[in-house]
Symmetry: C2
Subunit: 197 residues, 2 copies
DNA sequence: ACCTGAACACCGTTCAAGT
DNA sequence: ACCTGAACACCGTTCAAGT
């Protein structure tokens, strides 16, 4: 890439981040080009689709989440690891309002620039879930797709004015649906159905 | 209202229902007017905002849900009543793709034509939840706003291609987060923490 | 009273023309 | 190689002019 082109690329990306932080993932591309001081064609040359632009904006966060999932796989308390990762996914998706909808659409669209990132995130989460299930701390009747869907739902709720203030509480509600250890603080974390007797 | 105006009103509403069923709640108003064979101004005269049009399309369903909540309040099995009502709310919101987002926005916007309908639906649900809580079958750390938010999240998941096929399962996951009776089939439905011993 | 459609200010996307 | 911006086909919304 030529030096001037690279400079344009970086500058458009920076401006796009600023604008999308305010206007969300559906921000006007014309507006971004205008504020970046480039022609519309230049923006399209570097980012042929809106998804490509979003992917560039979020790549670093996506990678961090995938890496973190890998690290957490060997965590001592796998239930806490799972919840912590879920929280980070939700927080990441909330960087740009409405981006979670694009991510969900990308899951089914192999041509989307967001497809690979989203699928690998989901896969990383699946492994965490599987480990939690094998230790009996996560409910067994769900899979990685369900986990990602629940994270997406929470991110969406965080985008809605009427539920955003309660986002934390809604997170804990859904987290408790995923985790098996219903009792408050149970020192003996043993798998299997609850009843002892 | 003059007879010809009323005829226009009804016809626009019918066409809008058809178009919104296909294109969702964000369907082009121009397209609706075109297909209805009226001028754009006529559509705006009868429905000054998109929300007004959606409200007219959904009013009957909204009313039915509020009425049903009232009936269910005296139901024998209040837990089943709550879940049944929740299912109907989700199904209603799924009539038009994306309408749940408009409904969530309307909750905070007293000027929205959807505001009253949505608030009264939420209030009706709150009463069902409160009864379920007083019988110890619903978790006590949530309120009507949480309930509506969870219903909205489920409706949204139903709109997303990647989660729509699993909508039923996701519903049961979240329903089980709301209900207290975790054990499979427990004939003695008594409140309080699970462990017997 | 009610209806029409042009007008305005926006979009996303493409592509011939420039450097 | 890369950039520009006009052109095209769409929006939502308003409002003067018609019946």
């Amino acid at each position: 890439m030529r030096a001037d082109a690279k400079k344009n690329y970086e500058h458009i990306l920076a401006v796009a981040g600023t604008v999308a932080t305010i206007d969300g993932a559906g921000a006007s591309l014309r507006d971004i080009a205008r504020r970046a001081g480039v022609g519309l064609g230049t923006l399209y040359r570097h980012f042929p689709t809106r998804e490509a632009l979003l992917e560039a904006l979020l790549r670093a966060s996506f990678d961090a989440l995938t890496v973190k999932a890998g690290e957490l796989e060997t965590a001592h308390a796998i239930d806490e690891a799972l919840v912590s990762w879920l929280r980070d996914v939700v927080a990441c998706a909330r960087n740009y309002k409405g981006v979670i909808t694009a991510m969900m659409a990308a899951m089914e669209d192999t041509n989307s620039a967001l497809h690979a990132s989203c699928v690998s995130m989901r896969t990383a989460g699946s492994r965490l879930l599987t480990r939690a299930q094998s230790e009996g701390v996560a409910r067994s009747d769900m899979d990685g797709e369900d986990l990602f869907s629940l994270a997406a739902a929470l991110a969406w709720l965080g985008d809605q004015p009427s539920s955003a203030p309660r986002a934390e509480h809604l997170f804990s509600l859904i987290a408790s649906a995923i985790l098996t250890n219903r009792g408050s603080s149970d020192p003996s974390r043993t798998p299997g159905p609850s009843a002892s007797r």
